[in-house]
């Protein structure tokens, strides 16, 4: 059984619908209907699929039409009713459809896989759930057990992994597949925490033989998410009382094949360096055109989330006792980023992210947001990457490294427009530095404009370390120093004037031009 809603009034939802319908097992009974408006972004592919199901009205669906359809995947139409809307401002008449559906016997409908523990799980799953494609294929069922290569000297084999989930079971399925395929994963350390008593996510968890826990939801909106996080983290440390860390993941992330390898090589930093707040797999500024080196790590003054490691002492001693109470409608991650919680500590991130955020539907997500900020995020697919110089990420050692980089960096021509590609020469593998105006510690005016024109994260300030940003452009390492607020300002040659980019005027109109002084 499955129930899905595709908002085909909005873009790209019809693609999701096509994907889903393609994944339904042949012979299944399909019942479709329209709620409000379903034709505006119902494109040709979707219409062709509906036509192939035998529908006549589906491919011809118009604005605010009403429609009801009962058919069989791969089989005949069993009934269809359609009513056109008479005018743009009104809807079609309600339709009532009654059909008889011939049933087939259970033996005919079920597959006959070999009797193993795995297939027993598969059986239980497939008899309840639909839309997972070849998991339930009779002839060629997709494997549900993965044997990734073992990770030698795995320092995170006994770190519990908490997967924070809601009710997006198809996302959870995709995420768990990638998680269980990562090198060095310990399936018995994984716990999926579901925010509510939803069956399908629990079915997905049981399919993979993992531990699932359901949480009675408290509060609403972002406070509900925040309470769910708290309950999940507290439970994680209760279930694994000897653990000193926990890995926190979400249901809408692809996990890199070297995710645990990355953590295994860097976890000792979190243990030894008190100035660290977390290790995260996500580089907020790591887009396809701005991230280059899978062996490179940075220290940043933000907490990216999206696949990160939490220190137990930080949680038990600082965060848990003052976690926002249910009536506070705050985002848990914004709260964690506040100076009262972060207290000047930093996170370690890789240049190329070890997680990919694929969720399009969610409390804080929609298609446009995803397209703009997440789709083109760079994701590491190289297995077994050896991180370079990990101990240089400790507090003092990092300063030494930054100073070294800045001394070696070639200063760019500050008369050029920093937004243009020509700002950097056509080289590869060089290190360049540019100086931007940053009057005070919290003056991010120029940086925000630069981030905007480079098409990286510009909704708030991420990725900085004492007024320094590090990224790649045209495969060269590109350093940006905020002058005079950054302590690295002293590296600026006296002849250079820091770049100033003015934000566009407040009235809606032409985008602000980049101004340089």
């Amino acid at each position: 059984m499955a129930k899905r809603v595709f908002d085909t009034y909005s873009p790209h939802e019809d693609e999701a619908m096509v994907l889903f319908l393609n994944m339904v097992a042949p012979g299944r009974v399909l019942i479709c209907t329209v709620k409000d408006e379903g034709s505006f972004h119902l494109k040709d592919t979707a219409k062709a699929l509906l036509r192939s199901l035998g529908s006549q009205a589906g491919p011809a669906l118009g604005w605010r039409d009403t429609w009801a359809f009962v058919g069989r995947k791969g089989g005949p139409v069993l009934g269809e009713k359609h009513s056109k809307s008479p005018a743009l401002s009104s809807w079609g008449d309600p339709v009532l459809l009654k059909t008889d559906v011939p049933l087939s016997s259970a033996e005919e409908a079920e597959c006959h896989w070999a009797d193993t523990e795995l297939n027993r799980r598969r059986h239980r799953f497939c008899s309840k759930v639909e839309g997972y494609g070849s998991v339930c294929s009779c002839k060629d069922p997709t494997p549900i057990e993965f044997s990734p290569d073992p990770l030698p000297d795995n320092k995170v084999f006994n770190v519990p992994v908490a997967v924070i989930a809601g009710n997006r079971p198809n996302y959870l399925y995709r995420m768990l597949r990638s998680l269980l395929s990562a090198q060095g994963v310990s399936p018995q350390m994984i716990t999926v925490f579901i925010d509510g008593y939803y069956e399908e996510p629990m079915d997905v968890v049981a399919l993979f033989g993992l531990r699932g826990i359901q949480h009675t939801p408290i509060s609403i909106k972002n406070a509900r998410v925040s309470q769910h996080y708290k309950a999940s983290l507290t439970a994680t440390f209760n279930l694994f009382p000897e653990a000193k860390f926990a890995v926190v993941l979400e249901e809408d992330l692809d996990i890199a094949v070297d995710f645990f390898s990355f953590l295994s090589q860097s976890i000792h930093l979190l243990e030894e360096d008190d100035s660290l707040y977390c290790i995260s797999a996500w580089n907020d500024q790591g887009y396809e055109h701005t991230a280059e080196d899978p062996a490179l790590l940075y220290r940043v003054e933000t907490m990216p989330g999206l696949g990160w490691v939490l220190r137990k002492s930080l949680y038990k001693e600082e965060l848990e006792p003052k976690w926002p109470t249910p009536e506070k409608l705050w985002d848990w991650d914004m709260w964690m980023r506040m100076p009262e919680q972060r207290r000047g500590r930093e996170c370690i991130i890789p240049d190329i992210s070890r997680s990919y955020h694929f969720g399009i539907v969610g409390l804080n997500m929609n298609g446009y947001f995803h397209e703009a900020y997440f789709k083109k995020h760079k994701f590491n697919t190289v297995p077994g990457v050896q991180l370079r110089n990990v101990d240089s990420l400790k507090k003092e050692a990092y300063e030494v490294e930054v100073h070294r980089l800045l001394s070696e960096a070639e200063v760019l021509d500050h008369s050029k427009n920093p937004c243009e590609d020509s700002f950097l020469p056509d080289t590869e593998g060089h290190t360049y530095v540019a100086f931007i105006r940053m009057e005070k510690d919290d003056d991010f005016t120029t940086w925000t404009q630069l981030a905007k024109c480079l098409h990286i994260w510009d909704l708030d300030v991420r990725g900085n370390h004492r007024g320094l940003w590090r990224l790649f452009r045209k495969r060269n390492h590109f350093l940006v120093v905020g002058v005079p607020a950054s302590p690295y300002s002293m590296k600026k040659p006296p002849s250079i004037t820091p770049i100033f980019l003015e934000p566009p005027p407040k009235e809606e109109g032409a985008p602000g031009a980049a101004e340089q002084t």
Binding site: E117, Q188, F193, G209, R211, G212, I213, Q214, H215, T216, I218, Q227, K230, A231, T234, A235, F237, N238, L239, F240, P241, E242, K316, E317, P321, K322, T325
Partner: protein, 461 residues
Amino acid sequence: MSRINKNVILALLTLTSSAFLLFQLYYYKHYLSAKNGAGLSKSKGSRIGFDGTQWRTVKKFIMLTSSQNVPVFLIDPLILELINKNFEQVKNASHGSASECKYFCVPRDFTAFALQYHLWKNEESWFRIAENMGFQCLKFESKDPRLDGIDSLSGTEIPLHYICTLASHAVHLVVFHERSGNYLWHGHLRLKGHIDRKFVPFRKLQFGRYPGAFDRPELQQVTIDGLEVLIPKDPMHFLEEIPHSRFIECRYKEARAFFQQYLDDNTVEAMAFRKSAKELMQLAAKTLKKLGVRFWLSSGTCLGWYRQCGIIPYSKDVDLGIFIQDYKSDIISAFQDAGLPLKHKFGKVEDSLELSFQGKDDVKLDIFFFYEETDYMWNGGTQAKTGKKFKYLFPKFTLCWTEFVDMKVRVPCETIEYIEANYGKTWKVPVRTWDWKRSPHNVQPNGVWPISEWDEVIQLY
């Protein structure tokens, strides 16, 4: 004459038949044990007793668990006692040198083993394989108490006990789960409706009548009766824990209900107090454990545990109880060494002893010593400026373990009676102003100290 003869003959006959019966009984027993030994001695040299069902069942169980990588260890009290008595011999015994079945052949109903659940990789298939080997197993599961915190979570049930029989002997596998506070916990073995009450003599089980808490034991491998088993490195310590292992959960459901009615205090001061109180409790627990002195949560601290599974933010201090017979003279110096100087000492060992230590951030640690009378317990209080004595009465109680602020601590098992004695029936209602001389429900004036004793019984620092 014939009458007397008849009686005499009757008596003689009865005597002879009884004697014959007794002789038969004696000979039968002797015959049986001889048969066991004799039978074996014909085929395996002189290994007496190894043919018994108990030894064979245990051997098969050990084979099952080692082949499936289930790291069980022996916790059977009877056998551990025997091992403890002959510990040197057991430690130095080499494989296969046993000539007589000394341990596993001791007559008993069960052989108890334990398993630390987090070390068990392959739970799914174990059951099936056990059955294939001929074992008939019963599994006892329940909700995971670690999920039963302030938040409302529910997951799949966790295994608590397995009872597996083979050839009329039963193995009891107690599943231990690790919990915050660095201890192992096992659950209550509850017979649900459909279970056959005659499957095994459940009443004779040594573990499972109550949930239990134990220190995490270090294990060592020994060879006993020709079988390799893991046992606790310190069997004595484990055996001593068993009679005092009873565990009770904090009442989270009631705590949640309490917070629905009386919102929790989340001010900075409250959080700071909770943090300091927790640290003080940890330090006190560590110090007392080193001394080997039992203690339990008392007064406001106990009320906080019972009513809201937490530290009452306006309670101002940490209250512990100690039986006066457990008093040790080096308590004061031990606390001093741990960084908690003595703030005041009231009473004396013989009467109304009370100690108070100064912790960080103005949080005090009050230790009340409890005296035992025929049918009640009491602790004493002293008013420094008047020398007035007070007596607080409690019904007799025993001690249970529980988990409180990530620690394993003791509380009175009969908690509601203890709480109601101290706070009356209105204990559910928070009271912020408390006068220790008048507010407690069980306070009684107890006279006054003679002035000549004041130097001894009223010491302020």
